[in-house]
Amino acid sequence: MVRGFEPEEVWIERSELNSPVAKKVLSHVPPQVVHVVEDARAGEPMDFASGKRRVILTRNRGRFVEACPGGTDGSVCCNYLVFNVVTNCPLDCSYCFLQEYLANNPAIKVFTNVESGLGELGAILRAHPQRRFRVGTGELADSLALDHLTGLSRILIPFVLGFPNALLELKTKTDCIDELLAFDPHERVIVSWSLNPPEVAATDEMGAATVAARIEAARRVRLAGYRVGLHFDPLVDYDGWEVGYGRLIEAVFSQIDSRGVAWVSLGTLRLTPRLETVIRRRGIARRILGSELVPAADGKKRVWYGLRSKMYRFMIERLRAVDPTLPIYLCMESPALWRSVMCEVPSDRALGLRLASGGER
């Protein structure tokens, strides 16, 4: 399990030794694992698996804030903003797109110039006071897997709460919630979990907390007063998926009251040709490559259209049976499929606004 992840090595640039994030990390790890160097890029390991055991503390020389790449290929987009203060994470999910995206720089990077990132984010939030923003840190990293080392949530949460037009999502597959429980919860901080049935998690979500532990963590943050997000993504097609996902929904809502759920996203497995090649080469995928994947219009392999529709309909029916008012959306899906299973095709702006309202019902 990833709870309390301890890196085997920490590489840090000499110029960053006095940054608050570096100090926090260095206070936590034994000195013998620390390498102080002039340019931490020299510390990049050659392979992805090694990268997941090594933390590099460095300045971000690029942008911190990006539009979520999900809306780039003709799919309905929710106008999500991604705030990248960490890239990569210690979990090793077989389907993770970071295996392709970070193939050439696979170490876990924690950016030390967080204040620059906050400045960049703040400028965007200030420039559009009438707009509502959903900001998340869980796109290129797990939002909470390193929180005990970095303390980033203690910096980020108060900052975002200073902007009434912003909502922060912390997305995770861990049960690392201790830092969060130290805060007074706020309705504009959504703690989200990605969930799959235990049999899928056991084979294809290496290093993640067990599904039961994730649900228990969600129950605890909800009890503390946070609202919760649920991401059933990627839905994986396997023999018995209906039973597996049906039980998963039952397990989740036996512990979490649906009124505390800000949103639920649904997405199916999607693999670029290059990601598929990487996954095959690494040999870590046990179950996902058995899914009924075919090439889709965007060049990615997905479960074929009819089966995708069937899986979404199944999930939506079960979720609506729990609570007909649950805010559900599809992630990276075409307008045609939205129309078919959701009976609507919202504009990107309308969907973004709906979700940025925090699932007000």
């Binding site: 023999d239 095959r280 058995g290 009924e292 075919v294 090439p295 889709a296 997905r302 009819g306």
Partner: protein, 176 residues
């Protein structure tokens, strides 16, 4: 020993290094079974890769090995028949497709039955999206004269009143 034979076969067939590496990454039993399979069917690189994709997918779906898949009755049955190489390969692709994509194959089969049941005019062809990746259906009507076109179009309209048509679109949309 097996590795040498694999390298020799791959060299003979001019396989690329990535394909050879992928073959050699397989567990020993699977490497051997794949060698027998490739030799038996004299597979070139593209066919080998296509079969390996399917075999690995079936193995992942069933939680077994590639050699277990090659030992499945429908596969053995095709391999034991006295057929020409191309016929064997074609039949194996169909058998493996059904194992690799059980739900897709089931829907494809049902769609074929439904189309067959429709009294479509002679020369009409109905096409579905590749791998049923979408809900659109293409109907092509052939005619050799204006009168012929009107007659066949009327026959088509009549055929399309049947309930099979609704079922076709329900299946494509994931309702089955």
């Amino acid at each position: 020993m097996c590795e040498e034979r694999i390298r020799s076969y791959a060299q003979d067939k001019r396989f690329g290094s990535a394909t050879v590496a992928r073959w050699l990454r397989q567990p020993a039993g699977d490497r051997r079974a794949l060698l027998e399979f490739a030799v038996r069917l004299r597979l070139g690189q593209n066919q080998f890769r296509l079969f390996l994709d399917m075999l690995e997918g079936i193995a992942a779906r069933r939680g077994c090995t590639v050699s277990d898949v090659l030992a499945l009755e429908p596969v053995v049955s095709v391999l034991s028949r006295r057929l020409g190489r191309n016929e064997t390969i074609g039949m194996l692709k169909r058998v493996l497709h059904r194992l690799r994509y059980p739900q897709l194959a089931e829907v494809e089969g049902r769609l074929a039955e439904l189309i067959k049941a429709l009294p479509l005019p002679v020369g009409t062809s109905v096409k579905f999206p590749d791998n049923l990746e979408g809900e659109s259906v293409t109907v092509i009507l052939n005619a050799v004269s204006a009168r012929d076109l009107r007659v066949r179009a009327a026959e088509l309209v009549s055929a399309l009143q049947r309930p099979e048509v609704e079922e076709i679109f329900r299946l494509l949309g994931g309702e089955w």
